[in-house]
Amino acid sequence: MTFLVQQTLIYAIPLMIVALAGVFAERSGIINLALEGIMIFGAFVGVYFVRYMQEAGTFAAAKEAGDWVTLQGFELLAMLVAALMGALFSLLLSFASVNLKADQTIGGTALNLMAPALVLFLIRILANQNTLQMAEGDAASWFMIKKTTLGFDRSAELGFFGTTFLHKVYLATYVCILLFIVLSIVLYKTKFGLRLRSCGENPQAADSLGINVYKMRYAGTTISGALAGMGGFVYALTTANCTANGDVAGFGFLALAVMIFGNWKPLNIAGASLLFGLFKCVAASYSSIDINGDGVYLLAEIGVSPHFYRMLPYLITLIVLAFTSKKSRAPKAEGVPYDKGKR
């Protein structure tokens, strides 16, 4: 059970945070199809930062001394850098769609095409290969929190919650959950959030009340870019052993699906990404999942083909979307460039 919860979280967290990134852009009225591209870019920037710092030896002493607090700081710093560069990258989209009033779908697609090419190009220059890896060690030995890092004994019993949430986890997971909650509150309970949402529904009305629509849309897309860039790095860190190869396995597009699936509402999105993460985890590890701890691997023993399990996450998404999409309601003004003169 612990295993299932942890692995589900590892898949669900990047999805969740990137889907929220989509919400921020779309609620302000900009369709951010570029989530995938920004994730790829963010993953690259984060991994490169880690690699660069390792090569410079900045954190070598902390690693040597087992100073895990500093290493977690290093991880947070890398997340921050990825977020900053993601925000910067997304400015291309905001500029095209806010200032130039270009078609947002095409702008987003252009970024999606550009990011993997650009990233692979840079990786080829930096490392003479297609994958950028950490300079030394692996993600788990540098960044993972285990009970031994926290000062417990190897054989210490922490109980179900202890082993699930304190052992073999990444701090990034919790930072993302915290950010998710804080930003959801910002979106719904603050003046800024209300204004942002109003720009996605009826920008003319918002403007008539003195809200700068352009500014709000820039803010929405930039927050979106920062979250997606960070989500990309979190994906690379937790599921790809801190490597970047110009690919995030379609997580950006999945996040878009999750966002629509979750009806542009944070709580639904959290549920949707957990559901998807759960099935993704089952697909990869069905043969070693012991649901109730009695030593029987039910999923492996019922004799269903592994290909079926691998289809499952996508199948479930399709089915649920088919039933729920009728009720889903996108922000009214999304995708429409704001024109002051239009009524």
């Binding site: 590892i10 290969q129 692996d138 590890s285």
Partner: protein, 391 residues
């Protein structure tokens, strides 16, 4: 005023030119110094630049991969290190040509890479990986004066005829022997729950031999010690030898359920397995090269001398003894000291199993007294002391 500006600009430009010139001269002298140092010292492959620029734009020794990364810390990198070392030590120019489309490279992409190498003046092209066959057949026919070394391969015939192409040398290894030694060693060291995850989806003969040898070795050791051993055996992920979240999750699941050692058999797949091992305090058996330096979780590595084989084959081109290997399949095994486990101080991490015991086991394979079956179609059989759980 305008005149003054023009003058100032001209001055700045000429100054910068002078500055550039000055730098170049100091650079060259520095380079000379370092070369002098290096000839007296032992150079390792890591000290040699991956990118070298020759003066006339031709490169004599070329290297082409099939799929996967150059720096996979395993098969491709090991071969490349051999190529670099030979070229460096003999003052030859060398270059790596990567086929287009990365992991989805087709035979055409590989042919293009080989052709580019031959066009750029390559005397010998080292092609690593068993997927090279079709591309190699075309390239070797189109460029008969260029020598091709087919690592992990075999002698190949020209299209539609039975004559073997004499400018292709196939080098194969008896991977089952080092797989056996690794399996034997980890069971002797007290591990009873093992895993094997291979690349290429079960189509790569080298990986299949590694896996089958690993099973046989584990079974033999278990029989001697009278214990029962379990092994998970999977080809599910890593069909292009790449790391993936799914592979990592699968290995996490194995370790979670008690698996102690996983044999990561396939290039960059090592990344995923090592990440899972590191998270679960498990161990990994490396492949092709000594991977002890890449992760603390590596307990031993099933090595084959790919770098040495590359050097050996390139040397044949330059000392005019190519006929000894051209058009033939050279199979290297324990008897040629081409396969084994690393026994260096830092790499030997087994605790109860000793180097001496390993040497004795290796010797018995060398002499042929302990014959390891190489026919991996026999994988699914009844083992006396081992339960094989194919996933």
């Amino acid at each position: 005023m305008k005149k003054f500006l023009a003058l100032a600009l001209a001055l700045v430009m000429s100054l910068s030119l002078v500055a550039c010139g000055g730098n170049t001269t100091t650079d060259t002298t520095q380079n000379d110094d370092t070369t002098d140092d290096q000839t007296t010292q032992e150079v390792t492959a890591d000290d040699i630049e991956d990118n070298m620029t020759s003066e006339d734009g031709t490169y004599e020794v070329a290297f082409v991969t099939d799929v996967g990364q150059l720096k996979d810390k395993s098969f491709n990198e090991g071969t490349w290190n051999g190529v670099k070392l030979y070229a460096y030590n003999n003052g030859l120019s060398y270059k790596y040509y990567q086929p287009a489309n990365g992991n989805e490279a087709t035979d055409d992409d590989r042919y293009d890479a080989m052709a580019a190498a031959a066009e750029a003046g390559a005397k010998v092209v080292v092609c690593a990986g068993y997927l090279q066959e079709a591309a190699l057949r075309r390239a070797a026919t189109d460029y008969p004066d260029t020598k091709f070394v087919f690592i992990d391969g075999y002698a190949i015939n020209a299209d539609g005829s039975d004559t073997l192409l004499t400018n292709v040398a196939g080098i194969a290894f008896q991977e089952e022997q080092c797989g056996y030694l690794a399996g034997y060693a980890v069971v002797k060291d007290g591990f009873t729950k093992l895993g094997f995850t291979g690349g290429g989806g079960g189509t790569n003969p080298a990986c299949c031999r590694y896996g089958y040898g690993f099973v046989q070795g584990a079974n033999a050791a278990a029989a001697e010690m009278d214990v029962q051993v379990e092994m998970n055996y999977s080809w599910q992920y890593g069909s292009s030898y790449s790391a993936s979240p799914e592979l990592q999750t699968m290995c996490n699941g194995w370790y979670e359920n008690g698996t102690e050692v996983i044999f990561a058999c396939g290039g960059s797949m090592f990344q995923s397995v090592a990440a899972a091992a590191s998270a679960n305090d498990g161990y990994v058996v490396g492949v092709d090269t000594d991977q002890a330096g890449d992760s603390d979780t590596v307990i031993t590595s099933a090595m084959k001398g790919i770098g040495e084989a590359a050097q050996y084959a390139i040397a044949k081109v330059y000392d005019d003894t190519w006929d000894e290997i051209g058009g033939l399949t050279t199979t290297l095994g324990a008897a040629d000291d081409a396969v084994g486990l690393p026994t260096d101080e830092g790499s030997w991490r087994l605790e109860t199993y000793t180097v001496e015991e390993y040497q004795a086991e290796l010797e018995s394979i060398k002499t042929g007294e302990n014959a390891v079956d190489a026919d991996y179609n026999n994988l699914q059989q009844e083992y006396s002391n081992l339960t094989l759980n194919i996933i």
